[in-house]
């Protein structure tokens, strides 16, 4: 089966929760054996117990239940738990593949209306997907969630066709959680790349919603890189250039986490998209 993912087509031995593609695959995802080897570049303690190695041009990303060997056009998956492997492949491991291909990514979701995308960035728990969900209920479409990539033309690449929300404790029915403990909310999706119209960064340093310019805009985006792994020798410069390019090209707003009401969001979108 082949899938569309952030501008690439991947053939995959694993079932992935992604749009099916009829285009020729440029990346292969295969099941196989992966061992931890090479230079250790990252290790997180329990509970994630995540580790990352560089080995002969490939990157090995390893969790207790699944290991990946990520190359430029081939990802080997070593697991007995296909569902966890699929959840980790999209988007966490995919960010490593993109980095190997020279494409940096941000941590956020994007929704689209009338041919323009609004991206919402922020740390986990800042309310990115909640804002996205609020807009989906008002006619917007999902472009991507969690991992956000913008191509050289300034277009957001379509990613997973769902938003990942924290489980609603008040809801009575059983909610199925993914590997990250989130509930997937499927809605209308935008499956084509779409011009980015504005970015909102949800972070505690902003007391109220406001437009950011210059260094403040670039700095806000630099704090939202998806992938901190030093995969590439020039990663700092590439991430810097991506942030500065976006800050110069697209209106950037800062807002406190979990703060945006429908009214505030309407005002911000109206200003940004006018």
């Amino acid at each position: 089966m082949a899938y569309e993912l952030f501008g690439h087509v991947a053939s995959s031995d694993l079932w992935l929760p992604l749009p099916i593609s009829r285009r020729r695959p440029s990346v292969q995802v295969v099941l196989g054996s992966v061992i931890e080897t090479g230079e250790l570049i990252w290790r997180e303690p329990s509970p994630s117990s995540f580790a990352c190695f560089k080995d002969d041009g490939a990157v090995i990303v390893s969790w207790p239940e699944v290991r990946f060997r990520v190359g430029f056009d081939r990802v080997v998956v070593d697991t007995n738990d296909d569902e966890s492997a699929a959840d980790l492949l999209v988007p966490a491991v995919w960010s490593v593949l993109l980095a190997l291909r020279g494409q940096e990514a941000l941590h956020g979701c994007a929704v689209e209306q009338s041919g323009r995308a609004l991206a919402i960035l922020g740390d986990s728990g800042a309310g990115k997907s909640t804002v996205g969900h609020m807009l989906i209920k008002r006619g917007w479409r999902v472009v991507t969630d969690d991992l956000l990539t913008v191509d050289a033309e300034g277009d957001v690449q379509p990613g997973p066709p769902f938003l990942r929300l924290n489980p609603n404790q008040r809801r009575q029915q059983v909610q199925t959680l993914d590997t990250g403990g989130k509930v997937r909310m499927y809605g209308p999706t935008c499956t084509r790349r779409v011009p980015l119209g504005a970015l909102i960064v949800l972070a505690p340093e902003y007391r109220r919603p406001r437009r950011l310019t210059g260094m403040a805009a670039a700095s806000a985006l630099l704090t939202q890189n998806y992938n901190p792994l030093p995969i590439h020798s020039d990663h700092a410069r590439r991430r810097f250039d991506m942030a500065v390019d976006l800050a110069g090209r697209v209106p950037v707003y800062g807002a406190p986490p979990r703060s945006l009401t429908a009214v505030a969001l309407d005002q911000l979108i109206s200003e940004a998209f006018t």
Binding site: G214, A216, A217, A218, S219, L222, F240, D241, V244, G248
Partner: protein, 88 residues
Amino acid sequence: MSVRVPSHIHFRPVHDEVVLLDTRTGSYRGLNPSATVIWLSLADGADERTAVSAVLDRFDVSSEQAQADLDILVQQLVADGLLERGDG
């Protein structure tokens, strides 16, 4: 004495400011609009007198104030490794 941008410093203008990246450490810093005018002049190879003129063209300050601001800025940037003094 002239100053120059070290090879490990990467910089990009955004709006009316410049953002500087130290590629050795990954740390970055911004310059305000007047400091940006000075930086862009010096990074373009201009001497300090030309940089002061560029500030006077853009901002309503006296030449003494512009020179004093430049001296303080250059001193700070050199101390922080973002500029280095050269010959001449």
